[in-house]
């Protein structure tokens, strides 16, 4: 197991349980994500990964357990007590969605500007300063455009800045959504199947992007992914779930060789089992 030093944890999930009526989607799940590392959450379909994500990002209120986020400055935030937009605003957890949720009728640039809403709201004096065109706001807006431009460059969409997000190709939309999440300047970036629907070349580019986010910006990443080539290549730590419980965790190598993981995948879906075993080799 890599990294037992508790001080390095950014996210600690402890005995998380989520019930929907009588169905237990996640039971007593505990795991940690390390600072400036990429942690992957994998498992067969219906294992409860997205439910965990929705608990962490405030879309569901957990039935039990705790989720702690430790910021660089030592603040520890109980995510299970925050809800809705406050997770993103106060705890600085950003996320993307399995089925891309961009603002399709707004341009790529506008999408990234919306992501900087809270910072810009403060700078615009909650609209009043902005309405009269105060220089404070104009500077802030210029800074926001610079940040957005920087991210468009990073995800290789600078030439599409003024195109409607809905007009971008699928792979471009995926990258734009990641850029949008990064524009909120998050402490933890949560990605829900970022490689879904991408071809091999796009997957490779995605891996590169995620590694650069980790290495250059030091942002911690938590991702759910089915594409094992991506998971095995970039993850520092992998947590495997099945039927709502954790069945294994460790480095990519440890997980790949774990008989329980292979059984879980074989027991449900042969293609995925094959993917697990082939992945990363």
């Amino acid at each position: 197991m890599s990294g037992d030093k508790t001080s390095d944890k950014i996210l600690g999930v402890d005995r998380l349980t989520m019930r929907f009526g009588g169905i237990v989607a996640v039971q007593d799940l505990s795991f940690a994500a390390e600072r400036k590392k990429i942690t992957a959450l994998i498992g067969p379909n219906g294992a409860g990964k997205t439910t965990v994500f929705n608990c962490i990002t405030g879309f569901y209120k957990p039935s039990g357990g705790t989720i702690r986020l430790a910021h660089d400055d030592g603040r520890v935030i109980a995510l299970e007590r925050l809800n809705d937009f406050r997770i993103a605003k106060q705890a600085k957890v950003a996320r993307t969605f399995q089925n891309i949720r961009l603002f399709p009728g707004m341009t790529a640039l506008e999408n990234l500007m919306v992501a900087q809403h809270n910072a810009l709201m403060r700078a615009s004096g909650f609209t009043l300063l902005g309405l009269v065109g105060a220089p404070v706001y104009r500077d802030a807006e210029k800074h926001a455009i610079d940040l957005a431009t920087d991210w468009l460059r990073r995800v290789n969409l600078l030439d599409r800045a003024d195109d409607a997000a809905g007009n971008l190709a699928y792979g471009d939309q995926r990258r734009l959504e990641i850029a949008r999440a990064m524009c909120t300047e998050p402490a933890l970036l949560c990605l829900d199947e970022p490689a879904a629907g991408l071809n091999a070349r796009e997957s490779a580019a995605l891996s590169e992007l995620l590694l650069s986010i980790r290495n250059e910006l030091g942002t911690s990443i938590l991702l759910i992914e089915h594409d094992m080539s991506v998971v095995m290549e970039i993850s520092d730590h992998i947590v495997v779930m099945d039927h709502g419980v954790k069945i294994a965790q460790g480095t990519p190598r440890e997980v790949r060789d774990d008989p329980k993981v292979i059984a879980a995948y074989l027991g449900t879906d042969e293609d995925e089992a094959a993917a697990v075993m082939e992945g990363g080799t």
């Binding site: 996320r95 399709p104 640039l109 919306v114 455009i145 800045a161 909120t184």
Partner: protein, 439 residues
């Protein structure tokens, strides 16, 4: 649900098929109209119900349906399937946007000159004031419906709050228009927040029906709270606006006397015209400005995808509330203006039909487009005026027009969206991509 509908309309080919369709339509019309048109009932003076037949009218209506179906069917074959009209060639679109760029300034200059050109035509000046009132209401509602994607069917409530605020403050305390105007806006915005706070988490149609109910509640309270509002008799004797304290009348203190010119009642009309024009332009300026601020972008983002907004840390409740309050405030201003212009207000002016009319203006204009809303207000109110002579048929025609316009252009006159910020070039965004909001 975005998949285009499978074209089930079988294009009738040849004369026999054409006649067959027309015959079926005429037969349906015959059944529909048989009792409602063919028989006319009326209560006699003794309360006894009598009836007489109108078979002539029935026959001519059925014949009209028969002829109409043939014409429509022929037109349909001439133009081709209706589904293709969406594909407007890029050249035409850029041409339209070229026209659009110069249309707005041209319209503005023309509007500024209206009192000069039509100085002696009182009717046209009155109509222009009416159109501008609806332009302002349309722009106000556009913030709520067009930008934030919140469906509000009770907008007239805020118009009423503004009108009664000024009417009651002026008649009871003698406060001047210019003090009451901001107060009317603030009060309307306050009511907007009061209503908005509990209901804004509702989605789509539910929000629509709740706002409709709210509009009706306000109207019913105005009717029934006679001690305050005068009930169905309304509030009369509302003071006319002054030129910042100087009355526009025939007295020795009047503006005409002070300027040493001859008094004319047209002065007041012209003054009112410029007041409503200024108010409308203020609405427009603030809206355009707000769109480029984070709050305005958040409104549009909310219309596009509320869940994504929450994931980006945007407080969707306060964002919706600000949109609702902003729209309500403009409605309140317009209401105060309406009260001072009419000098008399009664609950009859604030029915659901008014809300529907303003909403129709916003949707016909193309949601979110300021120019489109102005054009739609001109077309709707102007068209409405044309039918003034046919009092009872007016709403009938208006209803039919609403149905036909929706079928003809569900996205409104100006469907594309202009981006609020750009790096190299602002490109219009096709309406097919722009969402309509869910809440």
């Amino acid at each position: 649900m975005t998949a285009p509908s499978i074209n089930t309309a079988k294009p009738a080919t040849g004369i026999p098929a054409l006649l067959k369709t027309a015959f079926i339509n005429a037969a349906i019309a015959l059944v529909l109209f048989s009792l409602m048109i063919g028989i006319r009932t009326e209560a006699g003076s003794d309360g006894q119900l009598t009836y007489w037949t109108r078979f002539g009218e029935l026959a001519s209506l059925v014949a009209a349906v028969f002829g109409g179906s043939i014409v429509i069917e022929l037109l349909r074959q001439w133009i081709g399937p209706t589904g293709t009209e969406k594909l407007v060639p890029p050249a035409v679109q850029s041409g339209l946007s070229f026209v659009g760029r110069y249309l707005a300034p041209a319209l503005l200059i023309f509007t500024l000159l209206v009192p000069v050109i039509f100085y002696n035509q009182r009717y046209i000046l009155d109509l222009a004031i009416l159109v501008l009132t609806y332009v302002m209401l349309g722009w106000g509602l556009n913030v709520v419906v067009g930008l934030a994607g919140l469906l509000d069917l009770g907008y007239v409530a805020f118009y009423a709050v503004g009108a009664y605020s000024y009417g009651l403050l002026a008649t009871n305390f003698g406060w001047s228009f210019w003090i009451c105007l901001p107060l009317a806006g603030i009060l309307a915005a306050f009511w907007g927040v009061l209503l908005g706070f509990p209901v804004l988490r509702l989605r789509g149609d539910y929000l629509a029906i709740v706002t409709l109910a709210f509009g009706e509640i306000i109207r019913l309270v105005i009717i029934n709270w006679q001690s305050l509002t005068g009930g169905p008799n309304g509030v009369s004797g509302i003071p006319r606006p002054t030129f910042f304290g100087i009355p526009l009348d025939n007295s020795d203190d009047g503006l005409a006397a002070k300027l040493g010119i001859e008094y004319s009642s047209t002065h007041r009309i012209v003054f009112l015209f410029y007041v409503i024009l200024a108010l409308a332009l203020l609405t427009n300026w603030v809206t355009i400005r707000l769109r480029r601020l984070p709050i305005g972008r958040a409104w549009e983002a909310l219309r596009e995808d509320e869940v994504a907004c929450r994931a980006l840390g945007i407080n969707t409740t306060t964002t919706k509330l600000t949109a609702f309050a902003t729209g309500a405030m403009f409605g309140g201003f317009a209401g105060a203006f309406f009260a001072t212009r009419q000098g008399f207000i009664s609950p009859e002016s604030f029915t659901f039909q008014e809300s529907a009319l303003v909403l129709a203006i916003v949707v016909l204009g193309g949601m979110g487009s300021q120019l489109g809303v102005a054009l739609a207000a001109l077309a709707m109110i102007g068209g409405f005026e044309l039918f003034r002579g046919l009092e009872t048929y007016r709403m009938l025609v208006f209803g039919m027009a609403m149905v036909l316009i929706m079928i003809w252009r569900p996205r409104g006159l100006i469907g594309h969206r202009a981006p609020t910020v750009y790096l190299t070039k602002a490109q219009a965004i096709s309406s097919d991509l722009v969402k309509e909001g869910h809440g």
